[in-house]
């Protein structure tokens, strides 16, 4: 009988592969590694977020200038920021399952709640900031449960992202450059016992 985590690995892989249209890895991936599952999850997350950033925010706010994107999107009758869209998705996932979780964290968070909390998160965020283009993987025990934790660089890919973080009154840094790592996507999967 498969454990919850093993089922997760298989079902996530199948779903992700179907969504992504990838064919390189068989859908019947019972032996899929945690890292591969995390990578595929991140691929979907990053792709959806990038599409929102470009096709919605970039097109309507930056190019056609018919609406703005704002941190206070309700008051301003504006579009949510891409990072906010990402967090809303993470919150919805956490309401549905504890089989995996993800979050957006930073060593220089505007909201202190998004600072790393575990030693591995700090190590991983420092690693991706110092090694452009690389991911970080590790295992950690939290509350008696072993987790596989993957951390992916989150870069400032558009000028509004960078400008907002540099200009925000609560930001610990004001010298981010375009394309620089500003934080990381943390994906955590409970491991088989």
């Amino acid at each position: 009988m498969k454990t919850l985590s093993a089922k997760l690995k298989t079902s996530l892989a199948a779903g992700t592969l179907a969504l992504g249209g990838l064919v390189a890895v068989p859908v019947q991936a019972d032996d899929m590694e945690y890292q591969q599952v995390a990578d595929l999850l991140h691929l979907v997350m990053a792709s959806d977020r990038t599409v929102y950033t470009r096709m919605v925010v970039g097109r309507l706010a930056a190019k056609e200038k018919v609406i703005k994107a704002s941190e206070h999107f309700e008051d301003d009758k504006a579009l949510p920021l891409p990072a906010q869209m990402f967090r809303f998705g993470a919150e919805m996932v956490s309401e549905e399952t504890d089989a995996f979780s993800y979050s957006l964290q930073s060593l220089w968070p505007i909201n202190k709640q998004n600072a790393p909390k575990t030693d591995l998160e700090i190590e991983g965020l420092e690693y991706i900031a110092e090694n452009p283009g690389e991911n970080f993987y590790g295992e950690e025990e939290l509350g008696g449960v072993e987790y596989f934790t993957a951390i992916y660089p989150d870069t400032g890919v558009a000028a509004p992202c960078v400008d907002c973080h540099n200009d925000h009154k609560d930001s610990p840094r004001d010298d981010f450059e375009l394309g620089e790592v500003m934080g990381g996507v943390v994906i955590r999967i409970p491991m088989d016992s």
């Binding site: 096709m55 000028a159 394309g179």
Partner: protein, 153 residues
């Protein structure tokens, strides 16, 4: 004598990968369809012999590397990849420089910010960086012809 046969194949493969005529080409092992593996930092790229393009290398390192080194989510075409650059190079240096100076949205709304987001760069500096990127991404002949046409060699 299978081992010897295998060894001959390995040697033959190495020769095929680096033909004699290309041994003096600083870009021979740099430029390819997919480009260099991993994130490309400036220290992995050769220094062009032309002063104008070499100046672009320094500017590229300071402003362009973060995205064009291989940050996929930015949508920026990765330096050294002919797959990413051939169609762009075909537009010509003047067009690419104009896009880089004034800003540009691609067909999927990926944004090239004006001057790479660095307002301190002059038009010439941006153009130098563009010439370096094209040079290091399979467009060496395009850059050389453009330099000659503009008296910049």
């Amino acid at each position: 004598m299978a081992p010897r046969f295998c060894g001959a194949l390995v040697v033959g493969g190495a020769l095929a990968a680096s033909p004699i005529w290309a041994q003096d080409d600083p870009l021979a092992d740099i430029v390819s369809r997919e480009g260099l593996e991993g994130f490309v930092t400036v220290d992995r790229l050769p220094v062009p012999e032309m002063a104008y393009v070499a100046a672009g290398r320094e500017i590229w390192a300071g402003t362009c590397e973060n995205c064009h080194g291989g940050e996929k989510l930015s949508g920026a075409p990765k330096i050294t990849s002919t797959k990413k650059w051939d169609k762009r190079t075909a537009k010509g240096i003047d067009t690419l420089a104009s896009h880089a100076i004034n800003g540009w949205f691609g067909p999927t709304y990926a944004e090239m910010p004006a001057r790479g987001g660095n307002d301190e760069l002059s038009d010439e500096q941006v153009t130098q960086a563009v010439s370096f990127m094209v040079w290091a991404s399979g467009g060496r002949e395009t850059v050389e012809a453009w330099l000659e046409t503009n008296g910049l060699q």
